[in-house]
Structure formats: structure tokens, C-alpha cells
């Protein structure tokens, strides 16, 4: 490209806008003059045309909906909590969570639900129910049915009576320092809306 001077950024931008049809009349005049008198400008113009042509012939990517701007995460939240997202998906999901209040709220609710489910007590069937089950197998069908019903009733009764103790078997611990910490944070919210009625004393 001997004899050509490098195209400056301003002109390159104008040429790009020219291809987009986004120039003002003054800018259009400037571009026309450049293309008529400057070989470097013409070369840059052709390069930009070539780049755009190449982009147009690229295959269309099937971008997942949740990666599109404005689309929310849905099933990905569950996979995110389970650590089942593909490595390549993580940055996009994290970036979306950083900016989307709705998805953060959904994630928090999902996390709370899972925590609540995990906190449920695990009840083991009492040993005497197992004994009943062995006995029932050797009896006639009618008696078996009656015993199964009786066992069910017994199991329900046990859940109601032993339940409170079963929950105490797997306690969830929380410290008063943590609760105090939470109170301090909430109490630091500017209370401009909380009005102490101020009046002159009598």
C-alpha cells in the first residue's frame, strides 16, 4: 500500500456509518471527498465491506434463550444450585444473576425451599412395624389387609407423637450473634420514613 496514508479512526468510523446509512449530510460529503481523493480511504472502505460480507455468511448460532439479553434463567437456576452447569455456561449465568433482580429472587426462593426440605426430619419406621410386616406375610389376604391398615394408622399416630422429638433429633443451630448482626443491619436503614412527631412541649 505504498503511497497511502493510514486511515484515521474518525474516517474509519465515518465509513462504517456510511455502510450503515447513518451519516448526516455533512458527514456524507466528507466521506465522498475522502473516497474520491484518498486511496487509503478506499482501501479501508473495501476492507470494511469485506468484513461485513464475511459476517453475513457466518452460520447462525442457536443461542440459548437464557443467554439472550432480557431473558430470565429458569431451569438453569436449579442446575446452578446443583453445580450441574457446564463450565462454559457459568460466566453467562453468573453475569445474568449479577444484573437480574428477578432471577436473584427466584434463586433465593429456590435455595430456601431446598434448605427447608433438607431440614425435614428423617423418620425411620419403628421396629415393631417391621415385625408386623413379617407376620402379615404369613396370614391370609383379608387379615393382611386389616393389618396393613392398622399399621398405617399406627404409623400416622407415631408420626404425630414421636414427630416433635424426631425434629429435635436434628436441630438447626443459629447464634444470637448472627441474629444481633441482622438486627444491626436492618436498623441501619435510613429511617427517613419513620417520623417522630416533634412538637413544642406545653
Amino acid at each position: 500500500m505504498a503511497g497511502m496514508t493510514p486511515v484515521n479512526e474518525h474516517l474509519s468510523m465515518l465509513l462504517s456509518c456510511y455502510l450503515d446509512g447513518a451519516l448526516t449530510s455533512d458527514e456524507l460529503d466528507e466521506v465522498v471527498v475522502s473516497l474520491e481523493s484518498d486511496l487509503a480511504a478506499v482501501a479501508e472502505f473495501r476492507r470494511l465491506q469485506e468484513v461485513r460480507r464475511s459476517v453475513r455468511v457466518l452460520p447462525i448460532l442457536d443461542v440459548p434463550l437464557y443467554l439472550m439479553p432480557g431473558e430470565h434463567l429458569s431451569e438453569q437456576l436449579s442446575a446452578y444450585l446443583d453445580g450441574e452447569l457446564a463450565t462454559i455456561e457459568m460466566p453467562a449465568v453468573s453475569a445474568h444473576l449479577d444484573s437480574c433482580t428477578e432471577c436473584r429472587r427466584e434463586l433465593a426462593e429456590l435455595d430456601r425451599s431446598r434448605t427447608a426440605v433438607r431440614a425435614l426430619p428423617g423418620l425411620e419406621p419403628p421396629v415393631f412395624l417391621e415385625v408386623h410386616r413379617e407376620t402379615v406375610r404369613e396370614t391370609k389376604r383379608g387379615l393382611r389387609t386389616a393389618l396393613v391398615v392398622a399399621s398405617g394408622v399406627a404409623a400416622v399416630a407415631i408420626v404425630f407423637t414421636v414427630g416433635p422429638f424426631a425434629t429435635e433429633a436434628e436441630p438447626v443451630a443459629v447464634s444470637i450473634a448472627d441474629l444481633q448482626y441482622r438486627h444491626t443491619a436492618v436498623a441501619s436503614v435510613p429511617s427517613s420514613g419513620i417520623g417522630v412527631q416533634i412538637s413544642n412541649a406545653p
Binding site: 436473584r104 429472587r105 433465593a108 430456601r112 434448605t115 427447608a116 431440614a119 426430619p121 407423637t161 416433635p164 422429638f165 425434629t167 429435635e168 436434628e170 436441630p171 438447626v172 443451630a173 443459629v174 447464634s175 444470637i176 450473634a177 448472627d178 441474629l179 444481633q180 448482626y181 441482622r182 438486627h183 444491626t184 443491619a185 436492618v186 436498623a187 441501619s188 436503614v189 435510613p190 429511617s191 427517613s192 420514613g193 419513620i194 417520623g195 417522630v196 412527631q197 416533634i198 412538637s199 413544642n200 412541649a201
Partner: protein, 312 residues
Amino acid sequence: MNAARRFVLVATSVVLVATSFVASVSATELDDVLTEARDATYTASRLVVSVWGGKTQVSREYVEHADGMEIVRIGAKWSMTGNGKAVSMGDEPTGITFLTDQRSISTSRYTIKEIAKAYHMSRPCRIVEVREGDILRATLVVDDRSGALLIQELYSENGSLYRRTTLSDFRAYRTYEAPTDGSDVPAEVVMHEDSILLPDSIAGYELVDAFNAPGGSEQGYYTDGLFRFSLFILGGHMVISGFEDSMELVAESGVYKMVPTAQAVRLHWRDGSNNFVLVGDLPPDHVADVLAELPKPESRGMWARWWTRLFG
């Protein structure tokens, strides 16, 4: 003639003295004073002394206060609170942020009046009284220039002082001694939730906001415009640590575990099915009033009592 002139002179002096020492100012000015106290910029040492259950609690801390944010150092440990965020800046910094649009409350519980001008630490101040009806609830010494509360004295119903907060080494600017302002510490985000268990008001305190708390429990934030507390309703299966060496608070409504600190009182009780924890800066008689309107403490549930009777 001389007598008449002397009378006028004395009367004028009396009026001038009275107006200067008992200067009732307009509501707007006093409201500004309270807002300025929250937004004041200063650096100081803060000493808090409280008396709860006959025991004295003392806390001394270094404070940098600006724009509603407060950075505190106790010993070598830094923490930051403000605008709904609390951050502990230790070896492993942790934080929590409450996203909330607090419900406005209006209360006519307190009246505030400026009673005198004064100098404290060579700074011009005004002394302000806060009254709940006829009861003196607080005396505040407010720095004229910064708006900071240089001294706060809080009183219980019988007029006894239960908490005194004083600032010393006062400078009306930030010294930026903290290693960080806490803004870069990642924080757990907690959002407002509608409550199903928390009452809308308790003994003159109104529920301003509600949040989910650990283990699926609920946190209600209450205020009467001056004092504040959080009520946590936690599941019966939860274990609350930190009350192992607690005192007993005996109220008409029952016996409660109590751990007072210089800044707040912490209470814990069970009603048979739930754990309750109350944390706040409210005065002792307000504590009793609030507890009277909440579920009463009960040692254990019906099934637990049966179990104890049967199996010891």
C-alpha cells in the same frame, strides 16, 4: 420612676434568660436535628454504659461516622454498618445486606424539646429532652456544627438511667483509619418478605419490615420512632446458641433468658412450639410491655411434658 424602670429592666432580663434557656424551637428545626445526627460526619471514641438486671455492661469503641454509615473498631476488629448493610472485616470478611423499602410509621409517642444551650468539649451544643407523655425518656446533647449526638442518656419508666453513650476525642471529620470501607466485601442479600406470623404492632411498636431468617424463620423489625427491636420467630427444632451463660429476666408474663450488652438487650424463650428471640435497644419497661403481648414462655410442649413424666 426609678422603681418602675427597675421593674421593667428586671422583667426584661427574666424574659431574656427564660427564652435563652428554655428555647422552644419549631418542629422542622428539631426534625432537622434528628436527621443531621444520622448523617453527621465525625470521628470519635464512643463509650456506652448500660445497666440491665443490676449488672453494668460497658463498651468502648472507635467510630468513624459519615452519611449514615458507621465504621467501628473494637479492639483490633473492624466492622461497618449503614444503609441496611452490616460487614465484619476480619480475616474472613462477611456481610449481609437488607434490601428494603421500609414502611413509614407515624407515632405521637414522643415529644422533643430543646431545653438549653451549652458547651461540651468546647463545642457549642444544645440539650434536647425526649418525653413519652410525662416520662423523660432521653436527654441528648447535640453538637451544633456537626449535628452529632455527643451524649445520649436513656431512662426507664421510673426515671432511672439505664444507658449512657458519650463521644470523646471528637473530630468533626473522618480520619479514614479503617483498612476498607466495607463496600468491597461480598454480602448475603436479604429481601423483604410478607410475614405470616409477626403481629403488625406490639405495645406501641409498629412492624416496619419483615424478612426470612435462618432455618425458615421470620425476622420482624419494629420501631416506635425512637427505639428499635427485631423479633425472631424460629422453629421449635432450632437451637439458639449464645444464651448458655444468660441471666434470668422475670417479668409478669414469665421467665426469660437474657443476655444484655452495652448497646442492646437479647432475650430468648420458647412457647412450646416455637423459639423466640428479641434483640433491641428498648428500655426495660418497654421490654416488659412488649413481652406481655407476645406468646408466653413455656418450659416444654405437651408431648414433651408427657414424655418427661413417663420416662424422666
